[in-house]
Symmetry: C2
Subunit: 233 residues, 2 copies
């Protein structure tokens, strides 16, 4: 079998940049939230044009591994730039019921505490998250970012660092369920309504109402995700 004239395998430049970036994040020990070097610096270091670096970053962006803030730098979303293999994804889905049970327990209590302890500033944060979610949906989005901030704000308003820590350990998996759940047809707007109910209960300082509204919300998400086909509402 002649080796010399074997078919060529070409590769795009941005793919090589991608490889280098992954390696860099690993070697430099970067983790979620850390800032990547500026595009111009990366281009200079790698000896390629900024356009090629840009293409690589766009890829990472659509894969949800990186977040580019206009004028503010590019930041890591996770601790690595590796895409999750389907095997792990499926594995994680099997653990999802547990995560959602835990989420229900935690967030219900968090909503209750938030209703009792929130300051006006924290209430405003929650409201702003709600408004953002509304804006996202109005523009045809899914309201993912607004959803995320809403729950983060409620967690902050509960003033329980221990519960907050627990939430942090399942945050990644909640993110996944959020992304997928909100893509269900009609989900975003109904989700927005549930969030509004939670907000109003917290604003009114009604702890019981806040807890039950949050429980209903989390259970809805769980139902949708598990494809158990129990119609909502």
């Amino acid at each position: 079998m002649s080796e010399a004239l074997r078919p060529m395998v070409k590769s795009r430049l941005y793919e090589q940049v991608l490889e280098r970036l992954r390696a860099y994040v690993g070697e430099a020990g970067l983790s979620a939230g850390d800032k990547l070097p500026a595009e111009r610096d990366l281009a200079a270091s790698l000896g390629v044009s900024r356009a090629s670096v840009k293409q690589a970053i766009v890829v990472l962006e659509v894969q949800g591994l990186v977040e580019a803030r206009h004028g503010g730098g590019t930041y890591l979303v996770r601790d690595t730039l590796d895409v999750e293999p389907v095997e792990q994804l499926v594995e994680r889905r099997k653990r999802l019921p547990e995560v959602l049970e835990a989420r229900e327990a935690l967030e219900t209590k968090l909503a209750e505490l938030a209703a009792e302890r929130r300051t006006d500033a924290e209430l405003e944060d929650i409201r702003r998250a709600l408004v953002l979610m509304e804006a996202e949906i109005a523009e045809g989005g899914f309201g993912v970012e607004g959803d995320r901030r809403f729950h983060a704000a409620v967690t902050a308003a509960a003033h329980s660092s221990l519960l907050a820590d627990f939430m942090k350990t399942i945050a990644g998996q909640i993110t996944e369920s959020r992304n997928e759940s909100l893509r269900q047809p009609g989900r975003p707007s109904r989700s927005l309504a549930q969030h509004t109910a939670i907000y109003e209960a917290i604003a009114a300082g009604d702890a019981r109402k806040a807890a039950s509204a949050m429980r209903k919300h989390v259970r809805t998400v769980a139902k949708v995700r598990l494809l158990t086909w129990v119609p909502e509402d």
Copy 2:
């Protein structure tokens, strides 16, 4: 809740281009294998720079929806530019065992027929696929393209349009299993060895040996894949 000063939601230009491209493919009724307009033309039509069009195309490229040939144009891989939702992906995995059974039945027979009927030119095609796969692996890749071409070449060499049609209907799902299977550690090189055995049997015109080598190969793939999949329900 004041509507006017709600938080802004920004969007990247390439995302809008992406949207337009998806819409265009739908409206123009393009299907797999069709050629997209040239980047320059797209940029001019959409009124954006070529760099932005490029970023959108890169996204489609990494999502496997499009194939850009240097100097030769950009072509659709599927009939649509929509990415497959996770729900569908999981659903499809449930059907995978059946697909692999069908694949075993079909490909075993195809290998047998290929050993008996292949012309020298077709044998050469098979060999070239093997060499490509080897090259890909040597360069650190998974040999996905070589694998694909190998099976396509064997199918062609069998001279059975009916079996070929059957293969076509499960081609998409086989592609998925190939991509995932070949990412297992050590899989590419072992897969290459199995392919080589199949090739040699076909070259020698040994139908029984070709069939059994192919059966062994397909079963290996099935095992790898099924190990990671425990049905949830």
